[in-house]
Symmetry: C2
Subunit: 377 residues, 2 copies
């Protein structure tokens, strides 16, 4: 059976990228140094911070968020954690773990943050040193408006650092850390950047870099140590060479297509999948939709895990719901190496699965809805 | 020009392993879970701790040592750091970084530790909680006798934990953490395990696991959190899937050859390279030779960097000396995907390079010396 990967990461990796990961030049060679410098340049472009430092770590996205928090927020400082899903909650846990004074602002999963609720919270914590927030919350499919959130923070707390989880937004949707006044942006290789998992990325604003820290608490997760090395095309510790070689190819592909075209394509594919879902009785879960993942509530009377299983029985891997949404949510994603016919395929599988589960759907119902979206100019 | 990688890591990766890294199954699938459980089983066998937990991290070897230290040594405790090269020094820095009370015992690079000097040191620090030491010190080519060191520690400080950097000994030379009474063993994927860099490994003894730690200082580098997940074939954070798939193949290759045969092969190949070096006027740098790397002092009157450059001009990558040994030491390694004819090749290139540098060597001199060693039954 042909295997298809439509999960919100790790995503399907383009064959050219996979081929490139089969090269392992020694990391102290001119060849690797050149590749590192090219990757740095491409990564900064894809992150809309051309010419700036985007640090590359061997690790998961979590390692980058941890390194970023430690690099610019002094121990014991107050951190406001905005949480509306699994990953927002993770950064609250991370900050608590390190003994920061954490103020958690939680809203229901699937909801966006209400800026009118945020302002009084910020005014009540004028001593907050940083705010953590997720751009694309993969657990709920919500795209939080981090530009507006950063502006709101800046208005009340001009000094506070805004640290953003961009794991499923980097390379997927518009993300302009510098223009939006963000202070930290953290991501991984296995989502919009089309590379196998194992690399993590961290960007900091100038004032975040300038925040004086006597000693980075972690030895391995030390962005300043890495920055000094990476500017020379080196790394502080042995890099995941093969993944860097793959990333180089993936970045070139994204930049060749053009970043804005990539964003538009991914948004359209994901919207096509959502339209397919809606027409067959699913509901869109996210208050504000992220193109990274199409979070759909199962039609009334059906369990989401049965739908996920139905996809698996046809060789296609999508994600189910997390935590309390396990029974209700399923989450296909078009974030990887996907084109219009992948959206069509997801729609077709969804139809077939629902028919198998007893829904009398006309052939082509979901696919037709998807194709109408895909045909938009 | 054909490229040859004879550096002490990252090493040449077998094509079958590279092919396997071109598979990126989703990490929440039964297929990946099965691969993880197979890798755990194979890794424990290769580490001579069958059936025990060897934790796999996305990171470099340094991340594993850091995670191990944090997992079992309480903050502020006294740590004796044995240093005889760059990596021994690194663990001293790591422990100092975390505010441990560090007693550094340094001997000259190239020397082994003298057990008769160690005993009074241990007696002078009866409150030491842990001892850090490198098994194969890649910067000097010395194989430190960690079995004897652990026994010496046990005699004076029965409670102290012995934490061992096995980055270039795991899969390369005899290493029996449990039988030798070690408490921590840390390594990476890109050396004896024939896999691209990006995975790190950590094993702890039962008493090290049992050491009560309220809170692991790092969020990402948390061996207990990982252990709970990895026993289920999962990981706490997204694993470097493609590298795990490669590692599975590499472990199968090592176990098929037979671990003891692998050790013997690597020892013989490295000894052949050392013999080739000696016959053309180089001197062996290590007091006690590690099979991971053939650390050779350039012949009198020649600079080591010129030799490294001569190898590079012929497509072959070897390592030079580190730090103060830059001008004097060069370090080919047979740790990767290498057989007898790779040792022959290194010997032949060495001859050619030295002739080019003005040494009138008879053709076949170094190669002949290597081949005599390789022909031993």
């Amino acid at each position: 059976m042909k295997a298809r990967l439509y999960a919100p990461g790790p995503v399907e990796v383009p064959p050219l990228v996979l081929e490139a990961t089969a090269r392992v030049p020694h990391h102290r060679t001119a060849a690797f140094k050149e590749a590192m410098l090219q990757v740095r340049e491409g990564l900064a472009k894809v992150a809309c911070v051309p010419g700036e430092d985007v640090i590359i770590l061997a690790g998961s996205g979590t390692s980058a968020f941890e390194a970023g928090l430690l690099a610019c927020v002094p121990r014991g400082a107050k951190v406001i954690g905005l949480a509306a899903g699994k990953f927002g909650e993770r950064w609250v846990k991370l900050a608590r773990h390190y003994g920061y004074a954490v103020v958690e602002h939680a809203v229901a999963w699937g909801r966006d943050f209400d800026l009118s609720e945020l302002a009084p919270l910020l005014r009540a914590h004028r001593d907050a040193y940083a705010v953590t927030v997720v751009h694309s919350e993969t657990s709920t499919g919500v795209l939080h408006d981090v530009a507006a959130i950063a502006a709101a923070v800046r208005e009340v707390l001009p000094e506070a650092l805004v640290l953003v989880d961009a794991v499923t937004s980097l390379g997927v949707t518009e993300l302009r850390p510098r223009d939006w006044g963000l202070d930290g942006m953290f991501a991984g290789s296995q989502k919009g950047l089309l590379t196998p998992p194992g690399l993590a990325f961290a960007w900091l604003s100038e004032r975040a870099w300038a925040s004086e820290r006597d000693l980075n608490p972690s030895f391995y997760l030390d962005l300043r140590k890495e920055r000094a090395q990476q500017r020379q095309g080196q790394t502080a510790y042995t890099p995941a060479v093969s993944l860097v070689m793959g990333l180089k190819v993936a970045l070139a592909m994204l930049l060749e297509e053009g970043l804005e075209r990539v964003w538009i394509r991914r948004e359209r594919l994901s919207r096509a999948v959502l339209a397919a879902g809606e027409v067959v009785g699913c509901r869109i879960f996210a208050e504000r939709v992220s193109p990274a993942v199409a979070a759909l509530l199962a039609p009334d009377g059906l369990d989401a895990p049965a739908i996920v299983k139905g996809f698996a029985a046809r060789g296609a891997r999508i994600a189910g719901g997390q935590d309390h949404l396990k029974e209700r949510l399923f989450r296909p994603s078009m974030m990887g190496y996907a084109d219009a016919y992948d959206a069509v395929t997801v729609a077709a599988i969804l139809e077939d699965v629902l028919r198998e589960l007893g829904r009398p759907l006309p052939y082509g119902a979901a696919v037709g809805a998807a194709m109408r979206v895909l045909a938009e100019a």
